[in-house]
Symmetry: C2
Subunit: 243 residues, 2 copies
């Protein structure tokens, strides 16, 4: 069974347009390349109840949950407390996080730095692949920072644990209206079980009108669906197929 | 009371990384400029239950809900049915949509085009500002297409109905660590009620380390908060303030 995932981006600054989100966009590509089926992205405010509700629902529904943001030392960093609330555990000082912060800051360490040593009770620190980029996780929730550069490094450090068999995808480009294509796509779906098809019109594309995507867990079914579809497209309608 | 909003992006193609979302990003900027407080973005699959659950929850919680995608003529276009399910009404042929489609397609009109004339019972067609870009709405849910060019035109055609008083925002750029800033930001929050403060470190910024944003519904409170904060920053820490 293919693993699934949700991304929860926590941050008023994204919703207010102060910064464009970069992290969900990065994670979309990485999860896809890892063979993980991303099922949901949420962008939510710096609010404890919102964080708790989103994390609780996503954790129970998907294999993996990635959070982005809200783990710094200021008053608007509420992610650790929100995750603790989601699972009804207290927030406490995590000894290993404290040790890492003390090592990083050295003699400059002050109590405000140590706010970043708090985590939900039972959280673990993942440092296996790249010890310089530890990631705090609680059950299936991976707690990543909002700063895009650090988000990418931390996700890269842990991503191999998510790897699953690759997706099998074909793209068929067609010079036709979606309404003309619709019954033909349904005929392919009926003829080849286990295939999913998406249909995406693009008004500004140079040489096609609709990109059709076909996917299957079984590559031979994908081949069969592509042949079935190509056979149903009139000459001149089929622009090209990409695998 | 300031109006709130949620954006629900419906589309497997975004979650699978086949296309990057452009519509939520566009709507973030437009809603902000309109004075609407965006509180949530969700990107969800082409799935009836997901659509129904997200629309139902957002419609009851926020002033306005914008959906993007899933309103074409193919089998994966499930938004109208999902919204109908959210409100427990049937989907039916909408006479005004049918008339507009017939006018648009003329003699080429076929039954597959008419799939796009379906809407939840009770939906209204908004054509007031720009009659060439009608938008279907059900209660407080505005149903927009996934094609970015058309999404933007339709949102532009209806957006004035959302306009509210402008936000009052100041940005203070500081050359300091967040941990050093944290107690100072809390002191400002304690001294000036009615102000919200965000703190955003950026590692790659040329001349600052943290962007601090201050917001208030009352501009005089915002002025007071900015003065309060500037007074608490050491010389050399305060880089500049932008209004």
């Amino acid at each position: 069974v293919r693993p699934t995932a949700a991304i929860i981006v926590i941050g008023d600054e994204i919703l207010a347009g102060k910064f464009a989100d970069e992290n969900a966009g990065y994670a979309i590509g990485e999860l896809r390349a890892l063979g993980v089926a991303l099922r949901r992205i949420e962008v939510i405010p710096d609010d404890l109840d919102d964080i708790a509700a989103s994390v609780r629902a996503a954790s129970s529904r998907y294999t993996h949950v990635l959070t982005s943001g809200g783990i710094g030392p200021t008053h608007d960093d509420l992610t650790m407390e929100g995750i603790a609330r989601a699972f009804d555990v207290p927030v406490e000082r995590h000894p290993e996080l404290e040790r890492l912060l003390a090592r990083y800051y050295g003699p400059r360490l002050d109590p405000n730095h140590l706010r970043m040593a708090s985590a939900p009770r039972g959280a673990e620190l993942l440092v296996s692949d790249h010890p310089e980029w530890p990631v705090c996780a609680f059950r299936n929730v991976y707690i990543l920072p909002g700063i895009p550069l650090i988000f990418r490094r931390k996700l890269d450090a842990i991503k191999e644990r998510f790897r699953a068999p690759p997706f099998h995808l074909a793209r068929v480009y067609a010079l036709a209206e979606e309404a003309w294509l619709a019954p033909r796509l349904e005929a392919v779906l009926a003829a080849v079980p286990g295939v999913t098809i998406g249909s995406y019109p693009r008004l500004e594309a140079p040489d096609y009108r609709v990109m059709i995507t076909l996917e299957a867990e079984d590559p031979s079914r994908l081949d069969a669906a592509v042949r079935e579809l190509e056979g149903r497209l009139a000459p001149g309608v089929h622009v090209r197929t990409e695998r």
